[in-house]
Amino acid sequence: MAADHEQVEEIMARSCNSNVHFHDIPDAILSSIFSLITDTRSRNAMSLVCLKWHLIERSTRTFLSLRGNIRDLFLLPTCFRAVTNLDLSLVSPWGSPILDSSPNTALLAQALHWTFPSVVTLTVYARNPSILKFLAPQWPHLRQVKLVRWHQRSSTTLGFDFLALFEHCHSLASLDLSHFYNWTEDLPPALEAYPSVAASLSHLNILNYTSAQGFKSHELLAITSACPNLREFLATCIFDHRYFGSVGDETLLSLATNCPRLSLLHLVDSSSMSAARGNPDNDGYTTGDARIRQNMLIEMFSALPLLEELVLDVCHNVRDTWVALEMLNSKCPRLKSLKLGQFHGVCKGIDARPDGIALCSRLESLSIKNCADLTDSGLISISLGCPRLTKFEVQGCKKITKLGMTKVASILRKTLTEVKISCCKHLNTVTSLQALEPIQDSLQRLHIDCVWEMVEQSGSEASSSAKSAGLKCSEKRRGIWEETNLNKKYKKYNGNGDGYASSTWEKLQCLSLWIEAGELLNPLALAGLDDCPVLEEIQIKVEGDCRHQSSPSPPDDFGLSSLRCYPRLSKMELDCQTAIGYALTAPSGHGDLSPWERFYLNGIGKIEPHRAQLLASTGHRC
C-alpha cells in the first residue's frame, strides 16, 4: 500500500503541470476506453470516481452477473440499462427458481425486462419450464442463451423445457446446454417442432457436464439434420459399440453431411466427461475397439472443409489412424486445433520422416490423449512437422520419455507457450520440468502432475534414501515433509549445489497441478518450479480416495504455505471434488471441518490473503 501512495503522489505531481486533462478527451473516446474494461470490480470502482465517470461507466456496462436475493428482486436498481449480456444463474439462494418466490411472477418478469431492456445474451437457472415461459417473451431478440440446472428434471413431456424459448425467440443463434441437466431425448423433438429456430442456430453446445448420459446416434442425427447451419457443435456421445445407439463411423459421416459448415466440432465420449486421471500403468489400449474405420474418417474430413477445431475423444481404440490423419491436412485446410483421445498410431515416426499427424503442418494446438503407441521419435516427427504449435498436450501416453519431450521443447522453442503433460508413466514432475528447460523462459501456461518419486529419490543424499513401500501413509507424508525441510537447509548451505536447475520461469502465468489425495505440495519448488516471478494463477486438482489413507494428524499439512514463493500469485483454485470420502473422516464433535479439510487448508493464510482470490471447491462426494 505504501508503494501505491508514493506512486499516487508522483502521479499527482506530474498531472499538475499537464496541459491535457483527462476530461478534455471527447466523451466518445472515453466511452470506447471504458468499454474495453470488463472486470466487474474495476467497473464498480470506476463508477465511484466522479459523476461523469459514473454516467459513462453505466452507459458502457454491457455485462452483468446479477447477485442478490431473489426475494429482493423488486428492489433491482434500474441503472444498468446498457446491459446486453445478463447472467441470472447466480442469484441466491442458488438453484431456486427465480420467479416462483414472487406472487406476481409475470410482473417481476416484466420488471426484469424494464431494468435490462437490451439483453441479447442470457444465462438463467431454469429449474422448471415456467421460468422460460415468463422470461422468453420479455426478450424476443435473444441471440445467445445458456441454461443452467443441476437439479433433477421435472416430469414433463419430452423437450418441454425448450418450447417457450423456441416459441418466442426466433433469432436464437446460440444455445448452451452444457450445464443444464436434461435427458438426451429432450432436445430433438423440440428442435423438430421449431424448424426455423433450429435452422437459425449456429452454435449448439450439448457437451453435458451434468449427467453421465451421452447422446445416441439417432439423436445426434436428428439434431444435426434439424440444424443444418451449425458452425459450432459440441456434444457428448456414446462411442462404445456395446451400448444401444453408439456412434460409429457412419454416424460421423452423416453428421458431417448434415452440417457441412462446421468450423468447430467436439465429440466426446460420455465416459471421458468425469475427467478422472487414468491409470498410468496399464498398456493404454481399451478392451474394445470403436467402430470407426479409416476410410470413413477420411470421408468425414472431406465433408467438413471449413473445420478449424476438432476434438474426437473416443475412449475406445481407433487403430492405425495415421492413414486418415495424413488426409486431414488436405481435406481440412483451415484446421488449427486438434485433440484426439484413444487414437493409436497417430504418427509412426520412422526415420523422423513426417507421417500421420505430423503432416498437419498448420496446427497451432495439438492434444494427444491416451495414445498407446506414441513414441519419442513420433514426438520428434510431430514437432518437426507442425512448426506452428503454440499449445501441446500429452496425456496418458505411456511410451514417451523425457528425451522426446526435451526434443519437442527445443524444436518448438520459438512458438510453444502452453504445455500439458499428464499421466505419462515416464514423465514425473521432475523429469517433465527438466524436459521443458528449453522453453523455460517462454512458457506461459503449464499443467503437470505432482508425482514426487524422483524428488524423494535423488532430492536428498543427506537424508535416508528410499522409502519402503510398506510405510504407512501418514508416516510417508511426515517423511517427505522432513525431507523437504532438510533439503531446504541443505540448499542454504550449498548454494545451488542441489542438482536441480533453478533458472527462472520468466513468463509462466498459469500453473495447473494434479496431485493424488494425501500427497504433499511442498516439494513443488524443490522439483524446479521455485522461481516464477509472474505466476498469477494456480489450479490444484486433488484426486484419489482419502478413505484408504490414515487420517492426517495436526502437524501435517498439504503445503499451501509453500506457495508463498510466488510473489505475484493472486488467484488459486483448490479442487477437491474428485477426492472421495474425506467428509466421512470428520471426528465426532468436529463435524465443521474434517481433518482432511484442515490438512488441505492449513497454511492458506500465509499466501497473502488480501491479494489472493480463493476458489476452493472442497468435495462433497462421499
Binding site: D4, R14, F22, H23, S47, L48, H54, L66, R67, G68
Partner: protein, 183 residues
C-alpha cells in the same frame, strides 16, 4: 498524391544506397511541414503525413500549401505520434502481425501515463485510428484493477459525489458484485 500511400517508404533510402535504373520508384519523396501549436516545425515524409486523415483532407482541399498548421497539437505528443506512424508504414509495406503487435505493446508500455493521455486528443484530432485503438487499450489497462482513490489522482479528478450518493452507488454495486473472476 494518391500514389503516396501505396509507394513503399523505404524507396528513397534504397535508391540512395544503390541507385536503381527503375525510375518509377526513384522519385524523391516529398517532405511535408507540420507546425504545432507551440510553433515547432516538423518535417515528415509525405507518406507519413498521409497517415493523418486530417492532414490528408487538408491537402486534398488546398493542394498547393506545404506547411500544415496544427493549432490543437503540441510538439511532444506530435513527435511521438509521428514516431508511431513511421513504424506503422514499415509494417504496411512488410506485414508481420506478430512484430506489429510487439511494437505497439512496447510503444505504449514505455510511455508515461501523461504521455498517453496527451497523445489521445492528438490521435483523435489527426484521425489515426490504429493509434487511437492502441492508446485506448493502454489507458484501459492502466485503469483496470485500480482503486477509486488511485484512479482519481491518476487523472486528477475531484470527487463530486455526496456521501449519500456514494452510498447509493455502493448499494447498486451489491447487485453486480463478483467474488470470483470469470475464466
Amino acid at each position: 498524391m494518391s500514389s503516396s500511400t501505396d509507394s513503399p517508404t523505404l524507396t528513397t533510402e534504397t535508391t540512395q544506397l544503390s541507385p536503381q535504373p527503375d525510375t518509377e520508384t526513384a522519385k524523391p519523396t516529398k517532405k511535408i511541414t507540420l507546425k504545432s501549436s507551440d510553433n515547432q516545425i516538423f518535417e515528415v515524409e509525405e507518406s507519413v503525413a498521409m497517415e493523418f486523415a486530417t492532414v490528408k483532407s487538408f491537402f486534398e482541399d488546398s493542394p498547393s500549401t506545404d506547411t500544415v498548421p496544427l493549432p490543437n497539437v503540441t510538439a511532444k505528443p506530435l513527435s511521438q505520434v509521428i514516431e508511431f506512424c513511421k513504424e506503422q508504414i514499415k509494417f504496411k509495406a512488410n506485414p508481420d502481425e506478430a512484430q506489429k503487435k510487439k511494437y505497439n505493446a512496447e510503444f505504449v508500455t514505455e510511455k508515461s501515463d501523461k504521455d498517453l493521455v496527451d497523445m489521445i486528443p492528438v490521435a483523435n484530432y489527426l484521425e489515426i485510428k490504429d493509434l487511437l485503438d492502441v492508446l485506448n487499450q493502454a489507458v484501459a489497462d492502466r485503469i483496470e484493477n485500480k482503486s477509486v482513490e488511485y484512479v482519481r489522482s491518476f487523472f486528477g479528478i475531484d470527487n463530486d459525489f455526496t456521501a449519500e450518493e456514494e452510498a447509493a452507488l455502493r448499494r447498486e454495486h451489491a447487485w453486480a458484485y463478483e467474488g470470483v473472476d470469470e475464466d
